[in-house]
């Protein structure tokens, strides 16, 4: 039986100071018992002589200095795991909220996980078809990648994330697939949107959900992504499943972290976020990947809303520095009614190069996307020129690019909320759009591919 302390001396925001403590350990799990018998948790943030600083996992409401009882449990924060976890719904703390039975754990794991040895990693290279041209064609996702969506408030990131979860597949393979979904501070409506979508498509039984809503205490969501990822690791590396993890909204998570940091009176970094935000986020994002000799994989799609649509805000900025690319949303495309409103120029998949090409997608893939990027960028410049000087000022070639950009947005970027495009469709669509540009301009495409593919689309054009 762990020793009990009645020696709480301070409770400030999400922090609690316990005095005259013996042998408390850094990162140790703490149980806090209220006078009415209610039990809450926390973890040790710092030990200093006989004082232990504890971060509360639940809100401090109802706690007092005199009557609460504190126990140090001698272990870190753990989550119980078993195959029965699939299809279940938990709160942000890992307690079931779906009327199902308690999980009888086969194994318990510390939710912090531990860093994958870079030597043990296997490089992600397996193409995932999401059915989105903007992803499959231009920012290809591969198994084991971490590819966030940088969105803004009111933009359809949830629709896109749900559609990815629905449509994602590895071509030519039937494998065990699961979704782990962690909601942090999103609204009830948003959470319901996902649940309904999973239910409608029959995905719920291979999904594990952790739900921390906007009106749940902010500090509760610090543990949420870690629980979700511990479950994902279990499913991927113990149960050989391919796991897609959706974390939404990371901005809310970071704000909770800032709150704890502020309460500790740490020297704030940019915009008040703690200096260790990069490290903290990397401990979450780096839990994606593949491991040599293991069948399963963890692919992460974190979603975050950029405050004021600002990509240089610390949350998107540090995320982009860690993740393997980013899908960036554009408010102006959204206003034009284009779904998904993906700003393809700012978006990037860093792992695409090994996931595409012959035997994976098609030999011409990388040339095609390089050319599409270049052409669209040129088209946007032409558009800018047109705005300033009027259409008459455009040279003939600028006019061609101008039209290309319009068509590219309306046909390549734009697609339906239930439209699941094959990679062949996406690649051919790229050729079709490029076929309207003079051949001499297509410098990014190898001559042999021009010879092989272009005529087909030129002919179609003439019909």
């Amino acid at each position: 039986m762990a020793k009990e302390y009645y020696t709480v001396s301070e409770i400030i925001g999400p922090l609690m100071l316990v005095e005259n403590v013996e042998g408390a350990k850094y990162e140790e799990l703490v149980e806090i018992e209220l006078a009415n018998g209610e039990v809450r948790n926390g973890r040790v943030l710092e030990v200093n002589y006989d004082k232990a600083l504890v971060q509360l996992f639940q809100e401090p409401r109802g706690l007092d200095v005199d009557s609460v009882k504190v126990r140090f449990l001698g272990r870190g924060v753990e989550i119980g795991l078993s195959p029965d976890i699939l299809g279940r719904v938990f709160d942000g703390q890992g307690k079931p909220i779906d009327d199902g039975p308690e999980i009888i754990p086969e194994i318990k794991r510390d939710i912090n996980g531990s860093a994958i040895n870079p030597y043990a990693r296997d490089y992600p290279a397996e193409f995932i078809q999401t059915g989105f041209s903007t992803i499959d064609g231009l920012n290809t996702l591969v198994r084991g990648q971490k590819l966030p969506i940088f969105s803004g408030s009111g933009l359809p990131h949830n629709q896109m994330a749900a559609q990815i979860a629905r449509q994602a597949k590895v071509l030519g393979k039937e494998e065990r697939f699961a979704v782990v979904f962690a909601a942090m501070g999103i609204t009830f409506g948003e959470a319901n949107f996902f649940m309904d979508d999973f239910r409608r498509t029959g995905a719920l039984e291979r999904t594990v959900l952790f739900i921390n809503l906007a009106d749940d205490p902010a500090v509760e969501r610090i543990a949420t992504p870690r629980m979700a990822l511990t479950v994902a690791e279990y499913l991927a590396f113990d149960m050989d499943m391919h796991v897609l993890v959706i974390l939404t909204d990371m901005t809310n998570y970071c704000e909770a972290l800032r709150e704890v940091s502020a309460a500790r009176k740490e020297i704030p970094g940019r915009r008040g976020y703690p200096g260790y935000l990069y490290t903290d986020l990397s401990m979450i994002y780096e839990r994606a990947g593949r491991i040599k000799g293991k069948k399963g994989s963890i692919t992460q799609i974190p979603v975050l809303t950029m405050p004021e649509d600002d990509k240089t805000h610390p949350i998107p900025d540090l995320t982009g520095y860690i993740t393997e690319g980013q899908i960036v949303f554009s408010r102006s495309l959204h206003r034009k009614g284009i779904y998904p409103p993906v700003d393809v120029l700012q978006s990037l998949s860093r792992l695409k190069d090994k996931g595409i090409g012959e035997g994976k997608t098609r030999e011409d893939h990388s040339d095609i996307f390089n050319q599409l990027f270049a052409a669209y960028a040129r088209g946007l410049e032409a558009r800018e020129l047109q705005v300033i000087l009027g259409e008459a000022a455009l040279s003939d070639i600028d006019k061609i690019y101008f039209k290309f950009a319009e068509e590219f947005e309306n046909r390549y970027i734009q697609q339906g909320e239930d439209e699941d495009r094959s990679i062949t469709f996406t690649l051919d669509l790229g050729w079709e759009l490029l076929s309207k540009i003079p051949r001499m301009e297509l410098k990014r495409i190898r001559p042999e591919y021009l010879k092989k593919y272009l005529p087909k689309f030129l002919k179609e054009e003439k019909k």
């Binding site: 996980g113 990693r121 900025d317 600028d398």
Partner: protein
Amino acid sequence: MDKGRIIKVAGPLVIAENIENAKMFDVVEVGEQKLIGEIVELRENKAAVQVYEETSGLGVGDPIVSTGAPLSVELGPGLIESIFDGIQRPLDKIKEVAGDTITRGVRVDIIDREKKWEFKAVKSEGDEIEAGDILGEVDETVLVKHKIMVPYGIKGKIKKIKSGEFTVEEIIAVIEGEDGKEYKLSMLQKWPVRQGRPYTVKKPPIIPLITGQRVIDAFFPVAKGGTACVPGPFGSGKTVIQHQLAKWADADIIIYIGCGERGNEMTDVLQEFPELKDPRSGEPLMKRTVLIANTSNMPVAAREASVYTGVTIAEYFRDMGYSVAVMADSTSRWAEAMREMSGRLEEMPGEEGYPAYLSRRIAEFYERAGRVECLGKDTREGALTIIGAVSPPGGDLSDPVVQATLRVVQVFWSLEDKLAYRRHFPAINWLTSYTLYTDSFDEYYKKEIGSEWKEMIQKSMRILQEEAELEEIVRLVGLDALSPDNRLIMETARSIREDFLHQNAFHPVDTFTSFKKQFQMIDIILFFHSRAEKALKNKVSVGDISVLPIREDIAQAKFIDEKETNKIDELKKKIDEVFEKLEKESSNG
């Protein structure tokens, strides 16, 4: 005296009291698991310790003991092809012992103790030797002859030396020291990482590091023994450039430091380098490479140490007389690790919370680069090039780490997100980047490639600068306002950008361009330009010139195999022909 014990744990920082024989920067063993830490501050009987492993589970009262030695690396045969963490623990061996994740308190040999190496003595008994002299050699890999050097501080006469098969710990030579002491030498040495290894004298760099990257070699070359930095926002191509240099630069040894960055990027190198062939020797690139990997999710303090670990290993190979190149990706993570420790030590923060000593540390680090005359009587020369990536928040170059770096490095490759968005790679801005070495290479250029090279480069740069000015005009009044000459400048500038500067790292041929081929590529672009200028005078229209199909051949030159580059020169004749035809047509019509 009391036993050392922990009194405070705050993240990677531990405060302890009564550590016996505590000295600054000595290594300590922390807790029951003997985690590795380093003393970074001493106040009376209290020591602040940065711990290189996860500290969870440590508590007040846990024991802490000094090893009495500073943080050091092990040096000797067996380094090449290794992958180490920030404090030189071999990650492959850790995996053998601990499985797929990094577990705390794991102890493994840094350099293999069992493996036997064929040591070939080059000195004989009775020879007078001093520090730095080469005693013998080991063929460590097909690419690297590992020179076994007399350690620093030893001078005397060889009493015994013999060739044969030895482990790194076995005695290969016995020295009768001038000081009367007898030194038994093995192939294994140690050196404290925070202290640069000595050399005889530093010399100004005079030879460019040829990287096979066109924009770098032609416009912004770095010297063997020089320093360069690559700042840029995320996704602008810092890591790809570092990888490209590690692959294709003509250095003898590559030390690649992944400091606080992605795990998969290290895996990428690990899986790719053994497969890729060095264009000069035809051997796998891994055979000259050492990797240091302290990824972002690995302990922060070890991130701080990783750049020192890397550069010390680099100096050791430099001392053998090699040209060594160090890539550090990213130095910002190193600086942030310093900031985190400084914050926890409650030091007075400077700009952006970085410690006041940030610029000094950065300057000291880059100062370890250089072309040097090594210790030892044979006056051999070694070179250490340092190329650091910098990751400023939001890509903002006013960031203190960028600024401190720019004050010391000689080459600035400025990556721009706008170029990256339009997939112009490498996204090095040709107008804002610079190198301070160009004049140092005059001799080299004259000898290796032709004295006209410099002029060609200057001319190309002028065209690019003019393009930038003309673009302004076009933006205001449209393309029609430009004279034919100016329109031609725009066309040629575009050709320089798209056909020369743009280089696809993932294309099998384009990924590397020899210096000779670079010359040919620039040459053909400028040849076309001069010929076009002449044609303009002969009343040919710019419009007709800009759609000449031969331009497609110039654009494809980058994809011509290194063995067939004469095809580029052959284009000249064709260019002449098409222009003559144009001129005839326009004078007839």
